[in-house]
């Protein structure tokens, strides 16, 4: 191929009054020539099959009435975002499943590689080996953290992973009864209920022990029966409590031939036993603590793992990446596997409808996990444990404050009960620039206006915690 540079330089400048700012649009001359080649005089002839009565007469009234330049947009956005209040000194003590964790700069640097972030689902593996290897590494690292054999990339978040796990369990067992621990996150409960709307599932909630915050084993035993497809328990649960009855739960569940689904905070697994070690069949969770940031609710990363079992893996939703060879047998490579489960092939018989997932977040989680390594992952989890226990201890020393509220052992999050409605404390804290805990007045598992859920992570120094405790102390 050869090209005459002089002619290129002499091409007319774009003369349209409106330019697509990212330079995709053809210039006027190109457009004319393209239309001529197509065989129409005007581009609108290509819309002749649209019924004229529904054609818009004018461009839609969206945006700011005209095109904006980058600079105009930046100023506009800046004026909007200046109305947000960011809490970094101290970082927010808000929890509720999503906490303020530090995100190393290297994670952003990796996510900013446009070969990753502008890629699509690697349907063509040969040209996307790098991305596929990262996905395989994410699956592998997460599998080792959970001590499960198979992990997908990925679900939307913890809640939809839990809902899909329940749906998968219903397919595997062909049963419709679902037992859910009453101390799970209330929003997760709502998501599960929504996803099961079409499936005539019979959802039963097991009340938790109000003293310990843990699953009440007797109640569980009485709720579960031979028609039960699965039991779903979170470790840590909504209150941050690590339930040490999980082995007993697994025994009860498996005795009734039901599946044991466990939801976890992956970061807790630096110090807490893995769900694989206590016989979970399906594990779900959110990798948000592994370098993803807050982003006001998303994107996060839904974890979905199963043990090595034909039925479970075949009913697993979402994408799976596997190791393979080149057809000539000379090299290893990576490709999407077991796609016959997926919607683009199985259609209405598919395991689920998921296509776009949270793939780029899996890249972040993989990078975060290897940046830490197993040993530092343990130290980080230990450090978070120490900090949250320090906060609970200090709050508990305040007069008439019960912290932690439950006697069960906890990780990262804990509830505290105050002698006056927490809402007033929260308001007053905000005025001091402190974002306190999550009020539990309207949160279904507890519904207690005197209680709040606090989250303390590696981002909080002892001084941050002292400031919170002292500020609350002054208000009581």
């Amino acid at each position: 191929m050869s090209i005459n540079w002089c002619n290129t330089a002499l091409q007319p400048r774009v003369s349209q009054s409106l330019r697509l700012p990212w330079a995709p649009a053809a210039n006027e001359r190109d457009r004319r020539e393209m239309l001529k080649r197509i065989g129409v005089n005007d581009a609108m002839e290509l819309y002749n099959d649209v019924p004229p009565e529904i054609m818009l007469k004018e461009p839609p009234n969206v945006g700011f009435g005209r095109q904006l330049s980058e600079w105009e947009l930046q100023r506009l956005v800046d004026s909007m975002l200046s109305k947000n209040k960011v809490f970094t000194d101290p970082p927010p003590f808000l929890g509720g499943g999503i906490c303020f964790h530090t995100v190393p700069a290297v994670i952003d640097a990796i996510l900013s590689r446009s070969e990753f972030y502008t890629a699509y689902t690697p349907y063509q593996p040969e040209i996307n080996q790098g991305l596929l290897q990262v996905f395989f590494e994410y699956q592998s690292l997460m599998a080792d953290l959970l001590e499960m054999d198979v992990v997908n990339v990925s679900m939307y978040d913890w809640s939809t992973a839990a809902a899909e796990a329940i749906l998968a369990a219903m397919r595997v067992t062909r049963k419709k009864r679902i037992v859910v621990a009453g101390n799970i996150h209330p929003e997760r409960m709502e998501v599960i209920e929504t996803w099961l709307l079409g499936k005539e599932a019979d959802i039963r909630v097991v009340e938790f022990d109000r003293e310990t915050g843990k699953v009440d084993l007797d109640r569980l035993e009485n709720t579960i029966d031979s028609d039960t497809a699965a039991v779903y328990v979170e470790v840590p649960n909504f209150f941050g409590v690590i339930d040490d009855g999980v082995e007993a739960i697994a025994e009860i569940v498996h005795r009734r031939k039901a599946l044991f689904i466990v939801g976890v905070d992956p970061l807790s697994l630096g110090i807490v036993r893995s769900p694989g070690s206590y016989e979970a069949d399906i594990v779900v969770g959110d990798a948000q603590p592994l370098g993803l940031g807050l982003n006001y609710g998303g994107p996060y990363l839904g974890i979905f793992a199963t043990r090595w079992d034909r039925k479970l893996v075949r009913q697993m939703p979402g994408r799976l990446i596997g190791l393979t060879k080149t057809v000539d047998g000379s090299e290893y490579g990576f490709t999407m596997i077991l796609q016959t489960r997926e919607q683009h092939i199985r259609r209405e018989k598919a395991t689920s409808n998921i296509t776009s997932n949270e793939a780029l977040m899996a890249v972040a989680a993989a990078a975060y996990m290897v940046l830490l390594g197993g040993s530092e992952l343990r130290e980080l989890a230990r450090s978070i444990w120490l900090r949250s226990h320090y906060a609970a201890k200090r709050l508990g020393e305040l007069e008439r404050v019960k912290a932690p509220q439950f006697s069960g052992e906890f990780f990262k999050e804990f509830t505290a009960r105050f002698p006056k409605p927490y809402h007033s404390i929260h308001r007053a804290l905000l005025e001091k620039g402190i974002m306190g805990g999550l009020p539990l007045a309207d949160k279904p598992p507890l519904m207690d206006e005197y209680s709040a859920l606090f989250c303390v992570t590696e981002a909080h120094s002892m001084k941050d915690i002292d400031r919170l405790v002292e500020a609350i102390g002054e208000m009581l």
Partner: protein, 519 residues
């Protein structure tokens, strides 16, 4: 002066070890904050996690290899070089709408005044972001002719599920027992999967010879059991369903609803609105149509919108405004509930806001028109190329995309659509969608969008012409491609065989230790 351009594309190629081969669990590239305080905390608390957790304490260090920061950066950078995205070259995957993604949205989405916001933060402290989301919702409603939108759905498929569940609940509330969902055989695979997840029986509607819904088959399928139809318009063949008003009348006259799959909106945005076509519920794929990158398969952003009484069924919370304050409206008498936690994938939502703000209504309309010109220009270029055909009324203009068939080429040379796809990779061009629509044999579903320059479209057509020529000269050699990519053609049978399928390193380790694992 005439210069010769370099040709002969090559992708980066080396064997990058797995992280397990690079690091070990005792290495780390991370220093945790305030680590100097840990000893003091242990002293104050006078108890350790080992003691408190008891048998719940993990007695082994997780088998996660650790690397120094420079090793992490090099490993991932090298892997990125063996990857392909829109910034590298065209990704004309039909129905996936892979546009160029403006860099300014990346910069704005990274603003700490967004990334550091906690989802449970008091609404008074996030007014700026809420204002953005409020405007986005209003714009999307305006663009689609709908009344309200829920920003919660994290992808198009989640929007479909929400829509199907809304239809289900709507009829339950009305006391009507409608359990059938009509889905054309050309539809995205997500449509039947979503309908089935919502508990519907899927009734397949065939495509007529001219590439649109077969009206006789539609009439035959309609009954008092029909809950609705899931349609995309233009459809996956790139053809506009020109009898859409008639279809809407038919469905509405028996009390059924119309669901619009917004995956193909790019060719008509600003020109015609789903609401005006008669649709009741729609979803949009903001990551496709409004320029948020796909990230290798997510995060996406779906939005589900509805009009009339159906709007009451939208997943909650919805963004709302009272006076000059923005807030989340949780009121939920009829709604289906939450489809995921919190409010949606905020980052791609912000990118969609940026995209629409910068283009304005006229810019969006121009984008649609340019994408349609690009599609039809490519068709015009392909008319003179033997080996491919344009099934279903080749004279009809296509909209956002087109589906070619390599059936003549296969008949003549044995070279399949998949072989053509691999040969395209070999030239540094991403292959089109070849897995569907199932109604076209040897399908090549191509969508350039407005972001591909004319020259790129010509190069793509030229590549397809070359491949057809090569298929006639030496079909065997062509079947060995690709060679210029990071790896040669991969073995799908080995990848999926029950005795060799290996989804994690953990399974590989078990295999290497001699365990006989079968799936």
């Amino acid at each position: 002066m005439t210069l010769k351009l370099r040709s002969g594309w090559r992708q980066a190629r080396w064997s990058e070890p797995l992280v397990y081969e690079l690091g070990d669990p005792n290495n780390s590239g991370f220093v945790r904050p305030y680590s100097h305080e840990d000893a003091e905390l242990e002293r104050i608390l006078d108890v350790t996690p080992e003691e408190m957790l008891g048998h719940m304490f993990r007695d082994s260090i997780p088998n996660i290899p650790g690397l120094s920061e420079v090793e992490v950066v090099r490993h991932f950078t090298r892997l990125s070089q063996m990857s392909y995205g829109v910034d590298v070259g065209p990704v004309p995957l039909g129905s996936c709408t892979m546009k160029y993604n403006p860099k300014i949205s990346e910069e704005i989405a990274r603003d700490p005044r967004i990334r550091y916001l906690h989802p449970y933060q008091d609404p008074e402290t996030v007014q700026g972001l809420l204002e953005m989301l409020y405007l986005l919702e209003r714009w999307l409603a305006e663009l689609t002719g709908m009344d309200r939108c829920s920003l919660q759905t994290p992808a198009g498929a989640a929007g479909e599920l929400a829509g199907a569940l809304m239809i289900r609940k709507y009829f339950i509330d009305k006391g009507e027992d409608r359990d059938e969902m009509l889905v054309p055989d050309s539809a995205h695979g997500t449509n039947p999967a979503s309908a089935a997840m919502a508990g519907f029986k899927v009734v397949r509607i065939p495509t007529s010879e001219n590439g649109t819904v077969d009206m006789e088959a539609l009439d035959a399928a309609l009954s008092e059991r029909t809950a609705g139809i899931m349609l995309t318009n233009p459809n996956t063949l790139g053809i506009f369903e020109d009898r859409i008003l008639e279809i809407a009348d038919k469905l509405h006259s028996i009390g059924a609803l119309l669901y619009y799959d917004g995956a193909n909106l790019n060719g008509i945005m600003g020109i015609v609105r789903p609401g005006d076509m008669g649709f009741d519920i729609i979803h949009l794929n903001l990551h496709k149509t409004f320029g948020a990158p796909h990230g290798g398969g997510g995060p996406g952003a779906g939005v589900v919108c509805a009009r009339g009484e159906l709007a009451e069924y939208l997943p909650r919370p919805l963004i709302a405004k009272k006076g000059d304050r923005y807030y989340w409206d949780y009121e939920c008498k009829k709604c289906i509930g939450r489809i995921r936690m919190f409010y949606g994938n905020i980052i791609p939502l912000v990118k969609a806001f940026v995209y629409i703000a910068m283009l304005g209504g006229r810019g969006l309309r121009e984008s649609a028109i340019q994408s349609v010109i690009n599609t039809n220009y490519f068709i015009a270029l392909m008319r003179s190329v033997d080996g491919y055909e344009l099934p279903y009324d080749p004279e009809k203009p296509r909209k956002h995309e087109l589906v070619l068939s390599a059936k003549p080429l296969k008949r003549e040379t044995g070279v399949t659509a998949e072989d053509v796809a691999k040969a395209l990779l070999d030239k540094g061009l991403h292959a089109p969608t070849i897995y569907f629509p199932l109604i076209v044999e040897e399908a090549l579903m191509i969508e350039f969008t407005e972001s591909e320059p004319r020259r790129q479209i010509e190069e793509y057509a030229g590549a397809l012409r070359e491949i057809a020529g090569e298929a006639r000269r030496n079909p065997t050699a062509l079947k060995q491609l690709p060679r210029n990519t990071s790896t040669g053609r991969l073995d799908n049978v080995y990848a999926n065989h029950p005795r060799s399928v290996t989804p994690t390193f953990r399974v590989l380790r078990r295999r290497l230790q001699g365990e006989q694992l079968s799936l």
